[in-house]
């Protein structure tokens, strides 16, 4: 199924047939107990699934076929994602798939491609991302972790944070400062580092959901071969920004809001909230916020289907999606009365719904991936062209 010919078959398939095929595969292979996981899963939970996908050749739907990907076109890729979201398939530790692979395919040397891509496909290299630092959150370009040239190596010192699933990874791709002079964007380099290199310490961060999704990563005189640079010294910022463009439609996905709404609906049915006209009014308002968001999302997806690219305007979807999600969880909490203050959930016909947990878990969506304040700055500048 992974040879070039089979791959092309996906894109010529009838949409419904493709959708059914993917769905059936999930039903058959994805563990029931991992559906709609309320937290980001660790390797010990989701690793087996990673390997199942790897074996099936479905790990990297967006990669070109020549590099072992499914080579899906925009339309099929969206269906693929959609089926997964609807079925509640959890995210794997997918940084290698969504970030490092595309990066190497575009900017990597032949040696880098030959070395890294197969190991990503095989589940041998699991990646985490070293961008943010304690002092560089919204203002990423101000990052301070330094890589100083020493012969054929860099000596890396610094402190990365918000590194998702670092404890599950054995590789980190990161932005480091290789030049302290001039514009801060221009002295940044993209570097790949094995996490077992001496001098690296990973410390989990417990989040408000009491889950260790993130970690800090400390670098103390870490020696990294210069060949591990991707795209050339001091080109890191440009590359990282291009990668963000690649991801843009995903930050616009309405999945957070839709998922929260489906949980609210389950809860509403199970505790007869639809008999209350006040609840119905609020529910409908949110339902329309989501329907209208979905109409907007599809409008952006059309661009991709036409072969176009999506610009900074996609920030509007991110803002609307995440803020609607938060309003949904707030209605959930308010409708749950005292249950709004307890950890445990309300048992519904469609599984456990945890109103307080939802309120807490929806907090970071307006912070990460560029806080909504930063998204608004972007729209003001890049779309409304307001003066500075």
């Amino acid at each position: 199924m992974t040879d070039e010919q089979a791959v092309n078959e996906y894109n010529v398939m009838d949409d419904d047939t493709f959708r059914t095929m993917v769905h059936d595969f999930y039903v058959e292979n994805y563990p029931d107990e991992l559906r709609f996981s309320p937290h980001r899963m660790h390797w010990d939970e989701i690793g087996d699934w990673y390997l199942i996908l790897s074996k099936k050749g479905w790990l990297t739907p967006a990669w070109p076929a020549e590099y072992g990907g499914m080579g899906l076109d925009a339309n099929k890729l969206l269906i693929f994602m959609d089926v997964g979201e609807s079925y509640g398939v959890g995210r794997t530790p997918d940084m290698g798939i969504t970030m490092v692979g595309p990066l190497l395919i575009q900017h990597g040397s032949q040696e880098q491609k030959d070395h890294y891509l197969p190991k990503i496909l095989a589940g041998e290299y699991i990646w985490c991302q070293g961008y943010s630092e304690p002092g560089s959150g919204s203002d990423l370009a101000s990052l301070q972790t330094s890589a100083v040239r020493d012969g054929d190596n860099y000596i890396v010192n610094g402190h990365k944070t918000w590194t998702t699933l670092a404890m599950d990874a054995n590789m980190i791709f990161m932005l480091v400062r290789t030049n302290k002079d001039g514009k801060k964007q221009e002295g940044i380099t993209f570097l790949l580092i094995p996490l077992d290199t001496p001098g690296i310490t990973v410390r989990p961060i417990i989040n408000l959901a009491m889950h260790d999704e993130f970690a800090e990563v400390f670098f103390d005189d870490v020696k990294v071969p210069v060949v591990n640079v991707v795209g050339g010294e001091n080109n890191g910022w440009t590359i990282a920004k291009a990668l963000l463009g690649h991801e843009r439609i995903f930050i616009g996905s309405p999945k957070f809001a839709i998922l929260a709404m489906s949980r609210l609906k389950s809860m509403a049915k199970s505790v007869s909230l639809f008999d209350d006209p006040l609840f119905v009014e609020r529910y409908t308002r949110l339902q329309l916020d989501i329907e209208d968001l979905f109409a907007s999302y599809k409008r952006f997806v059309e661009v991709l289907k036409r072969g176009g690219s999506i610009g900074p305007e996609v920030s509007m979807l991110k803002i609307w999606n995440t803020e609607t999600q938060q309003r949904v969880t707030e209605l959930m909490m308010e409708a749950a009365s005292e249950n709004g203050g307890i950890q445990d959930g309300i048992e519904t016909g469609d599984g456990l719904v945890r109103p307080a947990g939802e309120v807490i878990a929806s907090r970071p969506t307006t912070i990460y991936g560029g806080s909504n304040e930063v998204q608004r700055n972007i729209l003001a500048k890049a779309v409304l062209r307001l003066p500075t």
């Binding site: 639809f274 119905v280 009014e281 529910y283 409908t284 308002r285 339902q287 329309l288 329907e291 209208d292 968001l293 109409a295 907007s296 599809k298 409008r299 952006f300 059309e302 661009v303 036409r306 176009g308 999506i310 610009g311 305007e313 509007m316 803002i319 609307w320 304040e373 608004r376 700055n377 729209l379 003001a380 779309v383 409304l384 062209r385 307001l386 003066p387 500075t388």
Partner: protein
């Protein structure tokens, strides 16, 4: 005025749509200063007869009317580019009431003779019918109850008939012994009296009182009347929503433009972050509205159940009504003092939004209807 909408960034128009849009853009550019809009405020009939003629000449009045009746029989897909411009230009003309709603009733009615006779006149701008269906404030009920027809004579009262002062005939829904029927009634018919209510935008609603008024031709009988009405009103709701989209789009453009020029504390006020974020939120509202509009007109141009169209009409009318009000109100605030003067045009946008948002069911009413239809 710079176009800040996402249309040029992410949407694709057909060649035909571009042609139609260009002519609509040129049309409203003739009155960029909104002189006609101002001149026709608060004086009967509340709109500009000359503008109506020009729209007829452009063929716009026949958009939704099949070619066999003199129209051009195109869909919302093409029409919406015109409606947006009518909203942007605050064009003083009862386009939605007459060329969308009344036309739809006539086209979908079952009196072939009436269609052959009247529709070409409507398309030519020579005859303006207005639909009189509503009997209670806030009602969306298409069943006639209060206005009755007995032995060919109408009695009762219809309210909120837009631009009644410019109509030649009314299409009136009335309860016969068997059910709702639709009749043409001449404006000058004996026993018909009209009271006018001034709208905030400067137009007028008519209140029609019928005292044993002789009906004219029947437009639709009991088998069809209610569904014809429902279809026409939902089509009208979509059209009014598209017009609202135009209103909010231009109001935002004017505001972004103004705040980029207006200097206070030695900086253009559009550079202040709090104002920028406010305008971004308004921009998002306008683009969310545009997305729903585009989705809805696609749905209305395809085969969809009456219930599906009703839900979609409520969805779009709820969003556009809310968004237009929020954007135009915030636009006043962002303008500061000058925004509260009648001489600044931005206030005209607020008032148009207030009229269109409350006509044919406001946002709350349509959310409630959407819930009834979908829950």
């Amino acid at each position: 005025m710079e176009d800040i909408s996402l249309q040029s960034r992410i949407d694709v128009l057909s060649e035909q749509q571009v042609l139609i849009q260009d002519s609509a853009v040129a049309f409203i550019a003739q009155d960029e200063e909104l002189k006609k809009t101002r001149d026709n405020r608060f004086v009967q009939p509340g709109f500009d007869q000359q503008t109506w003629k020009e729209m007829a000449e452009l063929g716009w009045l026949g958009f939704l009317i099949p070619e066999q009746y003199g129209g051009i029989g195109l869909g919302f897909d093409d029409l919406h580019t015109v409606l947006i411009q009518l909203g942007k230009g605050l064009v003083p003309a009862p386009f939605v009431a007459t060329a969308v709603i009344a036309a739809s009733v006539l086209v979908n009615g079952d009196n072939e003779a009436v269609k052959k006779d009247r529709l070409p006149a409507l398309v030519a701008g020579e005859w303006k019918p207005a639909l009189a269906w509503q009997e209670a404030r806030g009602s969306m009920c298409v069943k006639a109850e209060q206005v009755k027809v007995v032995d060919g004579k109408l009695s009762g009262r219809k309210i909120f008939v837009p631009d009644a002062g410019g109509a030649d005939d009314f299409i009136v829904s009335a309860a016969s012994a068997e059910g709702t029927e639709l009749y043409l009634v001449n404006k000058d018919a004996a026993g018909l009296s009209i009271d006018y209510e001034q709208r905030v935008d400067g137009g007028f609603y008519g209140q029609l009182s019928f005292d044993r008024v002789a009906v004219g031709d029947k437009v639709a009988g009991i088998a069809l009347a209610e569904q014809v009405l429902a279809a026409a009103l939902d089509t009208g709701r979509v059209a009014a929503s598209v017009e609202l989209l135009g209103v909010m789009t231009r109001a935002l453009e004017i505001t972004v433009d103004y705040t980029a020029q207006r200097v206070q504390f030695d900086k253009p006020i559009g550079s202040f972050q709090a104002l920028q974020h406010k305008m971004v939120d308004l921009f998002i509202l306008s683009e969310i509205s545009r997305s729903v509009v585009l989705q809805t007109i696609g749905l209305f141009d395809s085969q969809t159940s009456a219930e599906g169209r009703a839900a979609a009409a409520s969805q779009v009318k709820a969003r556009c009504s809310d968004a237009a009000l929020q954007i135009t109100k915030s636009a006043i605030q962002l303008h500061g003092g000058i925004g509260y003067t009648d001489e600044a045009n931005i206030g005209l946008y607020l008032k148009k939004a207030m009229y269109l948002a409350s006509w044919l069911g406001n946002a709350s009413a349509h959310r409630a209807r959407y819930a009834e239809l979908t829950l």
